[in-house]
Amino acid sequence: MSSSPQPDPGAGHSAWREGLDRLRSTATTEPGRLRIIGAALAGLLVLFGSVTAWQVSGRAAAADAVIGHSQPLSADAADIYRSLADADTAAAGGFLAGGQEPRAVRQRYEKDIARASELLVKAAANTDAGDPAGPRIAKLNEQLPLYTGLVESARANNRQGLPLGGAYLRYASDRMREELLPAARALYETETGRLGSDYGDAKDLPWAAFATGVLALGALGWAQRRTYLRTNRVLNHGLLASTAAATVLLLWLAVGHGVARAGLTQSYEHGAKSLQVLNEARIAALQARGDESLTLVARGAVLTPRGDDAYESSYRAGMQKLIGGDGVPVGGAPEEGSLLDRAQALADGAAGRDPVAGAIRDVRQWQQRHRDARASDDSGYYERALPKVIGEKDSTGESFDRVDTGLSRALTHEQGEFRRAADDGRGALAGLAVGAVVLAVLGAAGAVLGIGRRLAEYR
């Protein structure tokens, strides 16, 4: 404020001393004290406004990042992961059908590879140097063409009727499981970690803003009490207006950020978390399906150290993760802690629960059909087992497709839930930063005017 003492231009140290001396002498007179109080009040209000604007903008930016950047990137990474797993499953399925590879299966494989490549380009464009996602994307870009090359060798040999095709397919699938999928998973985890940290930033309480707000209100209260004690006047309009502005801003901040937090928490609890579990469930289902096909491709060529078929064992492990143990009739609940159990617990509303419940039923049926197909193959009827796995009707393939569709529907629903809650949360912060500046300026003006009224009495 213009009323504050100005230090003389001159050498630093002595000028500072002189300023202090003048301040001290000013503080000994009432008008001088009033000038200092007015300046301090105005300063505090401006500080409150700027800290609020600064902290709220940070949180709004983080909320924007959640909705516009990290969540889509996390969803894209999940999609890369899923597309790759899906491509591997489609490759094995098409291989089993041999020369009669259905066009739809081939198209599914091609679509998956195209989708993964496209998303990798997008992910790379969103990655800065030094980003931990970078090396993962590079690895995926390097391995993907090798993988597709192996799959084509497998197809070519298979069409020649050579068992070498099966060996190529197993090798391709090993590359997928040992190189590509872990890299895709790591990318997904990196992006999801970024999502988590953006959530954290957006939900972080603006303590500095609260503290300066409380401080400004306290100072205003004290100044008004001082005025009252000295003049016996109850109301100073300027200071009252300033108090009102500061109170409104503090309440707006508390309510606005509180609502934003709640919205974001909900979008995390009901959206992001369900999305993660559903994505994992979908991938577990894809891998179990791939294993099931590879069991028939490998025909006992690869065993576990215990002497069981390696792919059948892997199928069982995948199913265990997805829904739990075998031997439960259709309609049986998923085992506690399994992915579908968790997805069911996280789903809310009929639109969220129904597709998950459907997927659970279909996985149980899949398990039953799988047992049946294995029994045929194990008793020497490969030709009967094959249609039970890749046939169009009443096959495990049909069950798998239903599971995949159900989980995909659940994912779409949860994506919508996420978006709605996150949008609501972000909306609660809208205008707050601008409002903070306006209210702070109004408050500061009120304080200056209020103190000015008192000063005028001394002229």
């Binding site: 041999g98 020369g99 060798s153 040999n157 298979n158 069409r159 009727g161 050579l162 068992p163 070498l164 095709g165 099966g166 060996a167 190529y168 197993r170 090798y171 490998a298 025909r299 006992g300 060529a301 690869v302 065993l303 576990t304 150290p305 002497g307 078929d309 390696a310 193959d377 194990d378 008793s379 020497g380 490969y382 030709e383 094959l386």
Partner: protein, 326 residues
Amino acid sequence: MRAGTGRRRGPAAAVGCAVAAVAATALLPSSAAGHPERSVDPVRPGPHGASVAAARAPAACTAPEASLRPSTADGPAVQRIKNRGRLIAGVDQNSYRWGYRDPATGELSGFDIDLVRAVAKAVLGDPGKVTFLAIPTNQRIPALEKGKVDIIARTMTINCDRIKQVAFSTAYFEAGQQVLAPKGSPVTAFDDTLKGKKVCTAKGSTGESELRHESHGAFVLTVPNQLDCLVRLQLGQVDAVITDSALAAGQAAQDPSVRLVGKPFTTESYGVAMNLKDADLVRRVNAVLEDYRQGGAASPWMLAYRKWLEHDLKGITAPPEPKYKD
């Protein structure tokens, strides 16, 4: 780790035994028949219990290929198959030219499969009355012991360990470990041309033990299945493959740019395996094999050889001579 079906010494046990057998054979002409095998056994490190066990029964190990004399008389085992109306055979589905499922037709075919059909024809009068079960390498003996299958025809090597657990027919094929390399490769045999090269072999196979004993300066890559070696060879990850000649022929048949080089450096005889209790079935299968070998160049054996193997495994003019122990 995944176990291999490749050149399938299930538990590494077989190696010590094979060594003992080879050593014993080599020693026989110059020394007394009762020459204690214990003295040659420790030459090779590794396969432990089994070779000691083998050493305890030296007499049984001099000619494990010797089987029971053929007979067409029905015993309980043959009767069991006739009552069932089907022969249950354990086979491989992945060994090209031996036992594999053609992806186009879904049908099993190969040298071993033809042999099984000949047995079915002889016992049941119909080569189609067979249930083929895909039996993994390490399940061959348990499958016979549990009665899951009547016979196993799955490029199974006769050796002194196994004849204590299962009964074998007379040898129907002779093979040996051999090197497979691309045409024009500097690798020409199981010798020093392998120096500095990468070679591939199936995990747990005879090839792996041979390489452990004498690698000729080669770097060894092991894979779950012998066919995986051909994938690695085509991808340029290895320079040569070591597997037995019979399976190597199956690999060469799938890739005209590779060939078998050098001579086989071990000798292995394949037999049809059966339950030890099914002596009548052993005699019956031996009778089938007698017929299979009859006819010189036009014998069913030679026809099957020419159909499945000759192109990639040249130079065989006759089936192996049967040996009998009674």
